[in-house]
């Protein structure tokens, strides 16, 4: 009859925790800057906690059979953002007020991680509020407990500035999204990040956001995605160093595909179009430089890429796409000269017509005036 006893203990501990949480909420700490609260006379000091919790390889067997690691590296904690910010053990572990203390009421490791999010919210309310609509939060609320909670990305005991160095971000996301992270690391963006620590390439959060991470499978996100790409790829300052064309968005929008995209994005963002977005030809996390032999859009691979949507396309077909070149005598000359022709033909025809119409109207007005005088 172990379990009922444990549950009873858990319920008592949980109730105590909730009570304390409520009390600390009434203290209303919104910002991560802590108010200097006078410690209760019998409050535990960090040193008292660490006396036990620095011992190596301590674990707590949770009812699920998983082991919760209880050992804290005191020095690493002191060097962490929380340690430097004088956040004490019982600020977060507010249910623990004296020794000996009850074990955690949580039944498994996921519950421990998820439940502590409520504790994070006490100081980091802005980030917690942003997270409310995120795909992680929504997925968890839908019943998938694997979705990330605060402590999955930010180890509370050893937390360091999350974006220093920037490659830390890809590693953090990669802990759960390892397949995607692997693709990303092989991409033109990821290689530049890991090899050169290039500040110009995007990391996960540049496209997906930080706490407000939206579901990237929705039509809203997909239809917004060309703007995400364009955010950097139309920026001359950023692209000129690499000799990358910044006309990519204009030329895409000028084409049938991009024209359709702008309309869908503006008018029916909840409806997907079968016209390709940047990612459909270039790839997403695995995106390659257009000069890379493995790029999906390099000439020798382009037909295969077109055939994803145009299964019966043949060899000449890819040239129907102007490859992000504005028509000029050098690139897409036929289109250029058609435009030149109409650039002359339209004003030529309309000019002659206009000249005649004006002369005819003038003559009629003249005749009428003359008649009126007589």
């Amino acid at each position: 009859m172990v379990r009922p006893l444990f549950i009873r203990i858990g319920m008592v501990a949980g109730a105590a925790m909730l009570l304390l949480l409520g009390l600390s909420f009434s203290g209303a700490q919104a910002a991560p800057s802590r108010q200097e609260a006078t410690p209760a006379p019998d409050a535990l000091t960090d040193q008292q906690c660490l006396e036990c919790h620095t011992q190596p390889d301590q674990t707590l067997a949770l009812p699920s059979g998983e082991a919760l690691y209880l050992t804290i590296d005191g020095q690493a904690f002191a060097d962490s953002l929380h340690g430097k910010g004088n956040v004490g053990c019982t600020d977060c572990h507010s249910g623990i007020t004296a020794y000996p203390h009850d074990p955690l009421a949580e039944k498994n490791l996921r519950e421990v991680t998820i439940n502590f999010s409520a504790t994070c919210r006490q100081c980091h309310s802005d980030q917690a509020a942003k997270n409310l609509d995120s795909v992680h939060q929504q997925t968890r609320e839908a019943g998938n407990e694997n979705a990330a909670a605060c402590a999955d990305c930010h180890n509370p005991h050893y937390t360091q500035p999350p974006a220093e160095p920037r490659s830390r971000i890809a590693n953090t996301c990669g802990r759960c999204h390892s397949d995607i992270a692997r693709q990303y690391r092989g991409s033109v963006h990821g290689t530049q990040l890991t090899d050169e620590n290039n500040p110009d390439v995007p990391v996960c959060t540049d496209c997906h956001g930080v706490h407000t991470i939206a579901d990237p499978r929705t039509s809203q996100f997909l239809l917004k995605s060309p703007e995400l790409c364009a955010g950097c790829h139309t920026n001359k300052g950023r692209m000129d160093k690499y000799g990358i064309n910044t006309d990519v968005l204009n030329t895409y929008v000028a084409d049938f595909h991009g024209t359709t995209w702008t309309l869908f994005e503006e008018q029916t963002p909840d409806q997907l179009t079968n016209k390709p977005l940047c990612i459909d030809c270039h790839g997403v996390h695995n995106i390659k430089a257009v000069t890379d032999q493995n790029s999906s859009v390099i000439r020798q691979n382009l037909l295969t890429t077109c055939q994803k949507c145009h299964p019966s396309a043949t060899a000449n077909f890819p040239e129907a796409w102007l490859s992000h070149y504005a028509p000029s005598p050098q690139h897409n000359a036929l289109v250029y000269y058609v435009n030149v022709f109409y650039g002359i033909f339209i004003p030529g025809v309309l000019g002659s017509m206009g000249l005649f119409v004006v002369s005819d109207a003038g003559r009629r007005i003249y005749n009428r005036v003359k008649r009126g005088r007589k």
């Binding site: 011992q55 997907l272 145009h310 000449n316 129907a320 309309l350 017509m353 119409v357």
Partner: protein, 382 residues
């Protein structure tokens, strides 16, 4: 009154005009917003029409209607020209050029009199043949855009965007020419209603088509035809017209159904799984430690009680209360409050007392009873 009214357009010609008018306006209204998609007015119009896909559908539908009208026009013109032997008054000639020049010079006051118009003046011929030119360009370029894969099988791929450029350029030209030329000559200069009423007054005829009026009055406007000859020519023309119409209609049908250009739904789900946690997790994980199986827990210290207490109590004790369960000797020595294990006296042992209440590192009921049995048996080491 009736004597001074002249038939100008037959009912079917007026119906053709009405159909052309409607489809042209619809094509312009659905096509130009696609060309000028960035403009606010274009966005509003496409919204009002129910989105770009519906706008394109309407554009295609109107295009098919107009193509069918062109087919009808070709067949009926054939009938007029070959069966009824109507004079091909729409045929342009050098006289039209000289008419245009002299009309212009007259307007400038450099000629005494304006040119005399026949059944179709140079103004009307210019518009008709401009429309023919426009229709040819629009049908060819429209086909290329509607069937880009088929086009690229015969021509370089670049013909497709070139067709789009030409289609757009031609559309702008057509709409502006209609506004400038047609609107001025037929509506502004004088509202010419003959395309709706089918008739013209004598005054209008004198003004616009004096040469035709003269021909009518002289009975020379149209050739005299005998009913019998018409019957014979009909018999010859109808099979030809039937074949021609069939070929053209099949052409229109193929135009619409030639190819399925693209798939309807693009797969955008990544080929990699979104959730793929790293194993082993980079978070600290405990090293595996031997856990005595409860089923085999024996009342001896070595490999049994010693392991159990080491695991359940050792996390804290070793520091707290001076207690240490890391060895038999240390365990029997006890802590700052004296010994916790009294061999032979389980109920008097502090460890049993503590474990019978709530304590961190709680032993299970089964473990506790083995512990008690071990103490009762004198707490043997081996």
């Amino acid at each position: 009154m009736s004597a001074s009214v002249y038939q100008r357009f037959s009912l079917d010609q007026r119906a053709e005009h009405a159909l052309t008018l409607v489809t042209f306006v619809v094509l312009a209204a659905t096509g130009l917003p696609q060309k000028y998609v960035a403009a606010n007015w274009a966005d509003t119009m496409i919204r009002l029409m129910g989105g770009i896909e519906i706008t394109r559908l309407i554009h295609h539908f109107a295009a098919v209607l107009l193509m069918l009208e062109v087919v009808y026009h070709i067949v009926s013109m054939g009938y007029r020209l070959f069966v009824r032997r109507v004079r091909f008054t729409m045929l342009p000639g050098l006289s039209d050029v000289s008419d245009a020049v002299s009309a212009f010079l007259f307007n400038l006051g450099l000629r005494k009199a304006p040119p005399q118009g026949g059944r179709y003046t140079f103004v009307e011929k210019a518009e008709y043949w401009a429309f023919v030119w426009g229709a040819v360009v629009m049908v060819i370029t429209g086909f290329m855009m509607w069937n880009p894969i088929a086009t690229a099988q015969l021509l370089p791929g670049q013909y497709i965007p070139a067709a789009k450029a030409a289609h757009g350029g031609e559309a702008v030209l057509a709409v502006l020419a209609i506004i400038l030329w047609h609107l001025y000559h037929v509506h502004l200069r004088e509202f010419n209603k003959s395309m709706f009423t089918g008739t013209m007054s004598e005054r209008e005829m004198i003004e616009e088509h004096p040469l035709e009026l003269a021909d009518i009055k002289a009975g020379m406007a149209q050739p005299v035809v005998l009913p019998l000859e018409i019957k014979k020519r009909r018999q010859a023309y109808f099979p030809v017209a039937g074949v021609l119409a069939a070929v053209l209609l099949v052409g229109v049908y193929r135009f619409v159904t030639f190819e399925k250009t693209a798939i309807d739904t693009v797969q955008r789900v990544s080929n990699v799984s979104a959730y793929a946690p790293l194993t082993p997790t980079p978070l600290p994980t405990p090293r595996p430690s031997p856990t005595p199986s409860q089923a085999q827990l024996l009342p001896v210290w070595d490999g049994n009680i010693g392991l159990l207490l080491g695991q359940k109590c050792g996390d804290c004790h070793g520091v707290i209360a001076g207690l240490d369960f890391s060895s038999y000797a240390q365990a029997m020595k006890g802590g700052t409050n004296g010994p916790v294990i009294l061999p032979g006296n389980p109920d008097g042992s502090l460890i049993v007392e503590k474990q019978s209440k709530k304590h961190p590192g709680q032993l299970s009921d089964a473990e506790l009873s083995v512990l008690k049995a071990w103490i009762a048996a004198g707490a043997p080491e081996k």
